[in-house]
């Protein structure tokens, strides 16, 4: 673009005004809504998902799964399968003895079960055959003889020591993890309170339900190396697990994450089927693909843990909180997965929204004979958030306070440390609350709508990337390299995976913004462990913040090289150069400049090929106690939601009529994508609130009751109400251009806001998720106008770690516990 000559004696021409404005604003792409870089390919069907891939001589894999919930494997007879024409290989667990798992402390999975099966659906054997029909027949021809063991399906029962242990590691019996920590004197704080609330809540487990089933294609290359294409959110962690189980050097294993047709956390573990097809490919020398059935996706699970919770919270008459004691019992299912982190997460973020000056958390995760729980959008946070927000709503009524006002008065201040030593940065919850209160007409509606109609509010916060990686290391969490072509093209490489959230667009936008080129000039190469720098993966809402910062650094470094050359060429200092609209020009005289391509050519002539790397590591966290690794983040996002419902008192059915949601995004990178993520989060929250549940039949061998998209109920467009989204933009110093997360946070307030709205509508409390019509009706018909759990089991906490808060003069550390004599408990097999 060439600015027109100023012939109007300073009076702005439209063109001139546009340029001035642009220069003033600085940002050309950030915060706007250009089309998603992968949008056209998705719409036209050109995107290649893992199952779209097909190679010559490709075999199809099917996995024989356990049809019993808990048993020892006595024998596996694969002879009939092997004898079938068209069957090329049959695999059992003995050929892959190394265990794996996402967390270093829970390496408790095998690609195929070796000694035991732990739930209906556990993988036992695999076949590779010339087509799917043969593979199916062969899979069913495999015979496994089991020695049954007593299964356990209820966490409360599982943590009794007298039941058959599911694993030979953990804290004791079927207690996978027990946590207890206290910050400040909670007992004293509760004693000092004017009112103490004590409530027990239950949050049913639910699953991710991505549209795309998991699929993986593996190939042994001619030189004996392995390439795996997979629908995974975490190619880097899969790379490590694959290398470990197959005993191959990581340098000879290449993992490519295909675009995911939805992830939501359900594709962030390394999975048995991924390792199985890789092994089969290495054995047969032929490409091998597996695409899971929908039923198998339910068995992969790693979704929302079912959690029973008790919250005891002290309040002053003005609504401020004196202290909180929060307890949670998680139904972990059959394997560790992210479970240790999930356990901590049910206790970590209670302190981030409102001031909680003293805080205690006790948590236990139990093993049960069900598909493993893991991280689902909001990882470990929606459950306690539901409890806290419903409890606040009850307390507001008890204290005669408006629940919105009460929340506004108790906000955690920005740039502060919480009782559990989380460092809060920018904090835009206040404006979020104000916007939804105003937009919804809250003040005219709360407690004022006709019977059957109700309105409710709830808030939340979420991390923008976990402060620590899954495995301990001192390296960056995200890396980006940028390479400039003399024709003006830009290539950006990053290990991040687009799971639909838009990370490809964020990468291209950050690079294009810095280099002053168009989105179309940036070619991105992502999620390939052989080619792209490591990004830890699309989980914990970390990608925009971490990859974004790395991308900015890489692009700035590349720009610097070009700027040096252009500065010399134009004879002006580099600081006067601006990169925009595919030009490099003098800010003081914008007409003086050259094209971006010319600039790159100058740079390349002077300094050689232009490539630059950037990387990002999160800041250190003030918390130094054991367990302080879960919760810290470079920044926290905030959300507030108001929901209006119509409740049918005769049926208990809830119709959500409208949702207003405010989200503190810091700064949108792409506004349309941000709104899309907010609406997607609301939609998922609606499903969790109203209907979704991982239901099992404990009295029928422990089968999953409804492993299908028809019977596992998730909302349709018919249930989706209008959503009004307000974005609060208060840039965070740690975010790229000030950006914070949006992928997970906006889901969190939806469930409690609906529960609170139901109370406003018909005066009953459903202290349980989902709020299915049966439960609402039971609450209406009950004496105490409540449906929900009444008791909380003894977690058998024997020792609580005590950490001094900042107010107590603490320094983030816990006093060293007295040395324990060597315990006899078995450590995790770390093979």
């Amino acid at each position: 673009m060439t600015a027109p000559k100023d012939e109007s004696n300073g009076a702005p021409t439209p063109e001139r005004e546009g340029l001035e404005q642009q220069l003033q604003e600085g940002l050309r792409l950030i915060g706007k809504s250009p089309r998603k870089v992968d949008g056209m390919a998705k719409c036209t069907g050109e995107t290649m998902f893992a199952d779209d891939l097909s190679l010559p001589r490709m075999l199809i894999c099917k996995i024989h799964r356990s049809h019993v919930a808990h048993a020892r494997i006595k024998s596996i007879d694969t002879s009939a399968a092997e004898a079938m024409p068209g069957v090329v290989a049959v695999l059992t667990g003995e050929s892959m003895p190394n265990s794996f798992g996402i967390l270093p402390v829970s390496q408790d999975e095998h690609a195929l079960c070796i000694d035991k099966v732990r739930f209906v659906g556990d993988p036992v054997a695999a076949v590779a055959a010339v087509d799917e029909d043969v593979a199916f027949e062969a899979m069913n021809a495999i015979r496994v003889e089991y020695e049954p063991l007593d299964p356990v399906f209820s966490p409360a029962k599982a943590i009794d020591n007298d039941v058959e242990p599911i694993h030979d590691y953990g804290d004791d019996g079927n207690v996978h993890k027990r946590v207890s920590m206290q910050f400040g004197d909670v007992d004293q704080a509760l004693a000092d309170a004017d009112e103490v609330a004590e409530d027990v809540f239950y949050y049913e487990g639910n699953t991710h339900l991505p549209m795309e089933q998991h699929a993986t294609l593996a190939v042994r290359e001619a030189d004996g190396r392995l390439t795996v294409w997979s629908s995974t959110q975490t190619p880097h962690y899969l790379h490590r697990a694959m290398s470990k189980v197959l005993e191959m050097p990581p340098s000879r294993v290449r993992i490519v994450a295909c675009p995911n047709g939805g992830g939501f956390g359900g594709k962030s573990d390394p999975f048995n089927h991924e390792i199985v097809v890789a092994k089969l490919a290495m054995l047969t020398g032929r490409p091998v693909k597996v695409t899971l059935t929908r039923e198998e996706v339910f068995y992969c699970h790693r979704g929302r843990h079912a959690v029973l919770m008790r919250a005891r919270t002290g309040f002053k008459k003005d609504g401020s909180i004196t202290g909180m004691h929060f307890e949670s019992l998680l139904d972990g299912g059959a394997y560790g997965s992210y479970g240790v982190a999930s356990t901590y997460y049910t206790g970590a973020l209670q302190t981030v929204t409102y001031q909680v000056p003293t805080y205690r958390f006790d948590g236990v995760r139990s093993f049960t004979n069900k598909p493993p729980g893991g991280p689902k959008r909001g990882h470990g946070t929606p459950q306690p958030r539901f409890a806290v927000e419903v409890q606040l709503d009850k307390m507001a009524e008890r204290l005669g306070l408006d629940p919105a006002e009460m929340r506004l008065k108790t906000l955690q201040p920005p740039y502060s440390n919480t009782a559990n030593w989380l460092a809060i940065g920018s904090m835009g919850l206040g404006p979020c609350i104000e916007k939804v209160v105003e937009g919804s007409g809250w003040k005219d509606k709360h407690r004022k709508l006709p019977r059957g109609k109700g309105i409710g509010i709830a808030c939340s916060s979420y991390i923008c990337g976990a402060g620590l990686p899954i495995y301990w290391n001192a390296m960056p969490h995200s890396g980006v390299t940028v390479q400039l072509d003399r024709g003006g093209g830009v290539a950006a490489f990053c290990g991040a995976t687009d799971i639909g959230q838009g990370s490809d667009t964020v990468l291209a936008t950050c690079v294009a913004e810095i280099l002053g080129v168009d989105l179309e000039d940036v070619r991105i190469v992502v999620a390939d462990t052989a080619i792209t720098p490591v990004d830890l993966g699309s989980y914990s809402s970390r990608v925009t913040l971490m990859m974004g910062n790395a991308a900015i650094q890489a692009a700035e470094r590349a720009r610097e090289v070009v700027a040096k050359a252009v500065s010399k060429h134009m004879g002006i200092p580099a600081v006067r150069l601006r990169f925009a609209d595919n030009r490099i020009f003098d800010v003081q005289d914008p007409e003086q400049g050259i094209t971006f391509a010319e600039g790159v050519a100058l740079g390349e002539a002077r300094f050689g090929t232009i490539a630059a790397a950037g990387s990002y590591s999160p800041p250190r966290t003030p918390g130094k106690y054991r367990g302080a690794g879960v919760g810290p983040s470079p920044a926290y996002s905030y959300s507030a939601a108001v929901v209006e419902v119509d409740v049918d008192e005769e049926t208990g059915e809830i119709e959500v009529e409208k949702i207003w949601i405010g989200h503190d995004i810091g700064q949108s990178i792409n506004e349309m994508l941000v709104i899309g993520q907010v609406e997607g989060g609301v939609y998922m929250g609606l499903g969790e609130a109203l209907m979704e549940e991982m239901a099992y039949r404990p009295n029928r061998f422990g089968v999953h009751k409804i492993p299908s998209m028809l019977e596992y109920k998730s909302p349709t467009t018919k249930e989706m109400p209008p959503v009004v989204t307000y974005l609060v933009e208060d840039p965070d110093p740690n975010g790229p251009f000030g950006a914070k997360e949006v992928g997970q946070g906006p889901l969190l307030p939806v469930m409690p806001a609906i529960a609170n709205a139901v109370y406003d509508a018909v005066g009953v409390r459903v202290d349980e998720v989902p709020l299915s019509p049966e439960k609402v009706l039971k609450a209406i018909e009950s004496k105490d106008k409540r449906y929900g759990p009444k008791r909380f089991p003894d977690l058998r906490i024997t020792e609580t770690m005590r950490v001094k808060t900042e107010a107590e003069g603490g320094d983030g550390t816990a006093p060293r516990p007295p040395r324990k004599p060597k315990s006899e408990k078995k450590e995790v097999a770390s093979s």
Binding site: T651, F701, K705, P707, E711, T716
Partner: protein, 328 residues
Amino acid sequence: MMRLPPFRYHAPDTAGEVAHVLANEGPEAMIVAGGTDLYPNMKRRHQMPSTLVSLRRVTDLAGIEWGSDGGVRIGAGQTLRALERDPGVEGALPALWTAVHQISTPVLRNMGTIGGNICLDTRCNYYNQNYEWRRAINFCMKCEGDVCWVAPSSPRCWAVNSSDTVPVLIALGARVTLVSDRGVRELPIAELFVDDGIEYLAKQKDEVLTSIEIPAQGEARSVYRKVRRRGAFDFPVAAVAVRLAFDGDRVESADIVLNAVGSTPVVCTDAAERLVGEVVTEDLAAEVAQVAWKPAKPLDNTDLTHMWRKKMVRVNVKRALLELAPGT
């Protein structure tokens, strides 16, 4: 993905030929129309017919013919979408239109037929599962097993009749025509159903359902109320069809039919009789609903709890009556 088992495929042009093929192939042959019920079932290995006889090309199963008296004959091969789009159906038979409109999704209604919905296989969430899943419960009585897992001590299968159109067609007094090599027979649609989750149809294996005749409804009013979790996709977990004819303010004749609360539709004769000669009031509607509620015997084999489903029968019978009462 789940794959279809192998089968032979016939696509004759007339109902007579269909009957002929069925007679020759014996009980291993099955009829397929839209395939929206049968094909998924075959993928799960519920049925593995050696031969499928398709109705797709049979022209004499198509068509919606209105008689001069206002009655209508609907070809069994008519797609649900075609019925839904027929202004005559929407205008004269609103309950049927509502039922059709609420079946599954538009995409499946494009393929599914009225005949298929009438003959819909009974459903149960111990049965409508993959082969591998059913292996974990040692299968069930309806397919390859011995036990009915909903009621393990029961000698019979309790799979649920989940058709939306059936209760409406019964309430409207429809008759169906069945054709076989042995001849043609016509019977009231209510007589097509048997109270058993496995042998749920009185239709013989060699018979093909060719048409449905609905008598003229005159001034009678009818309504269909479907209970389900979501506004699309879902089968009913309780369904109520009511038809009332009035003489002035008073009910002249009444039909109340329930479905999805047992293996067969339930005709609530006792409840309907209470209405005859009466003015429908809130109290009477509640009283009748209380009577209609009794024969509903839902069990724990669909979505939502069976106790709640039973309660929903009462709520929806009452609401249906009030919806049809004059002045509303």
